[in-house]
């Protein structure tokens, strides 16, 4: 992981699922962060395809990473559904916060 990716991951820790009150990294919604030179690519999923915050989480993630990596890089968000998110992808702390630690 290079510095750009590291900054991006840190920034994504400040993007929250507004219903669960847990950040999207801890929820396991971020599948990958790749520094591809001119742009940073984020692979993000959602808890379900019909997730009501499908509109906001990707945009929040893009904005947070764009701010973290600076204006020289474009940020591209890819919503991926495969593999589908499962609660097993959550970090132990997130699972604990939801009562399943």
């Amino acid at each position: 992981m290079n510095q750009v990716e590291s900054r991006a991951w840190d920034a994504l820790r400040n993007v929250y699922d507004p219903e669960l009150a847990i950040d999207i990294v801890a929820l396991g919604l971020v599948y990958a962060v790749r520094d591809e030179g001119d742009e940073v690519v984020l692979e993000i999923t959602l808890t379900t395809p019909g997730c009501p915050v499908a509109e906001t989480i990707p945009e929040d993630a893009r904005a947070a990473v764009a701010e973290a990596v600076g204006p020289d890089k474009q940020v591209r968000v890819e919503i991926v559904w495969d593999p589908p998110w499962t609660p097993d992808l959550m970090e132990p702390e997130a699972a604990e916060a939801l009562g399943f630690g």
Partner: protein, 460 residues
């Protein structure tokens, strides 16, 4: 592609293609909620439903004695319609203006028609019961006619996305539920006109046919269908087989049809068959909930206290319905037990609606606030759904609504007007509390954010 290969996440093999974000770079991502109408439409419906709950409670308290002496008397029918139309149906129609576009990822046929529906619906659902209570026939007929037109407009609007959408449990259930809305209000207006012309006697079994269509076919089935989408989402629950919920949304409408026909034409075996089929469908609905709970990855919360309590009322409604139909008793007791069944069924959906409104309203409000640029609290942390209502008041709403239901049921079954009136007052109190919490609390949050911004500007 290995997830996390370039970073610190555990590696998971991805076998399928990634779905590209439609528009990369700045600008809003067009997600599921991009299809919803302006938030003012569902929020106005839901706010008016809160006032409907208050009116329902007050009207119930006012006619408590009549509920015991003659539950089909017009003032009682008026109070019931405050509950069925001004409260429950208004909440469901409003929620569907948000929910249908989200689950189908399609827009309503017309936002303008949705606005017209809102105005007509609110006018009709208040005019009708307000006319029934003092028995002012022109008001009843006018209110009923407006409700029919508004219901048809909303059905037309919902039918666009619902017919386009691919098959899912929620979509299948809602197609039937919306059809039942139109059937219910059409029956209703025939009854209203019959009050004046007397084409046929408004016998108890015919009134119960109307109640079955509205309570079970329209409001109940809407809830059963919507729950199949909301429960797994709220519980973070994933399971491979969804067969039980699928059965519920298909069996309930079939059962209600048979039940309503049996009641309408006084064909006992048909009514019993319909009742049994409906109960089977509702049992699958309960089974589906149990399945989602078993597979949940999140602890149960206040919503589930509402859901489980509402299910207890559903079981009570079914039991009382069976006893009223099959038990050996005099006519007075039979009417009392049948009334208990209807009241318990109403409390089933009432508790479910009040509970789920604590999820739906904050979500819509949150989306609205973001569009106005309000997304962070004074401490810099993001505004979350949980910030937009008071949990303590929500718990109080649960306790009061549960107490109201118990008081009503015991009062009706025991023939005790005092308890019925108490239940009515508690329902009204719950309406005041819930509406204040969901409508006014966000204003307090916004004010604190604005105040902090002003202070920050002044200091800088």
């Amino acid at each position: 592609m290995a997830i996390g290969a370039s970073a610190s996440r555990p590696s998971i093999e991805v076998t399928g293609p990634a779905t590209e974000r439609p528009a990369s770079g700045p600008g809003p991502y067009r997600g599921m909620t991009a299809t919803v109408p302006p938030a003012s439409i569902p929020l106005a419906f839901l706010l008016m439903a809160g006032f409907g709950l208050i009116a329902f409670g007050v009207a119930t308290a006012a006619v408590a004695k009549r509920i015991v002496s003659g539950p089909t008397a017009l003032p009682v029918v008026g109070a019931v319609h405050f509950g069925m139309l001004a409260f429950l149906s208004t909440a469901v129609v409003g929620a569907l203006h948000q929910f249908v576009p989200v689950i189908t990822a399609s827009e309503l046929r017309s936002v303008r028609v949705a606005r017209v529906t809102l105005v007509m619906w609110i006018a009709g659902v208040w005019l009708l019961p307000a006319g029934l209570m003092p028995n002012i026939t022109p008001m009843i007929v006018l209110g009923g006619a407006i409700v029919v037109v508004a219901a048809c407009l909303s059905a037309w609007n919902f039918s666009g996305p619902l017919l386009k959408a691919s098959e899912s449990d929620s979509v299948t259930g809602l197609r039937s539920a919306v059809a039942y809305l139109v059937v219910t209000v059409s029956f209703g207006i025939v009854y209203a006109i019959d009050l004046h012309h007397g084409w046929f006697g408004l016998l108890p079994h015919r009134v119960l046919a109307h109640a079955s269509l509205g309570l079970l076919g329209w409001i109940g089935l809407s809830y059963v269908a919507v729950a199949e989408k909301l429960w797994p989402m709220f519980l973070l629950s994933h399971k491979e087989k969804r067969g039980v919920g699928r059965l519920a949304v298909r069996i309930v409408p079939a059962g209600v049809l048979l039940l309503a026909l049996g009641l309408l034409f006084a064909i006992r075996w048909l009514g019993l068959l319909g009742g049994a089929v409906t109960l089977g469908g509702l049992a699958f609905h309960v089974g589906s909930f149990v399945g989602w709970v078993q597979h949940r990855k999140r602890k149960l919360e206040l919503l589930h206290a509402f859901v489980i309590s509402s299910m207890a009322f559903m079981v009570l409604a079914a039991t009382a319905g069976l006893v009223a139909e099959l038990g050996e008793m005099g006519i007075a007791w039979r009417i009392r037990v049948a009334s208990t069944s209807v009241a318990a069924a109403a409390m089933w959906v009432a508790l479910a609606v009040i509970g789920h409104s604590h999820k739906i309203v904050p979500f819509i409000t949150w989306t609205t606030l973001r569009k106005r640029g309000i997304s962070k609290k004074p401490d810099g942390k993001p505004v979350l759904f949980g910030d937009l209502f008071s949990s303590a008041l929500a718990r109080a709403s649960f306790g009061i609504s549960l107490a109201a239901g118990v008081s009503l049921i015991v009062g009706i079954l025991g023939g005790m007007p005092v308890l019925i009136a108490t239940g009515g007052v508690l329902l009204a109190a719950c309406g005041v509390l819930t509406t204040s919490n969901l409508a006014l609390w966000p204003r307090v949050v916004v004010r604190s954010i604005r105040d902090a911004e002003v202070k920050s500007d002044e200091s800088s």
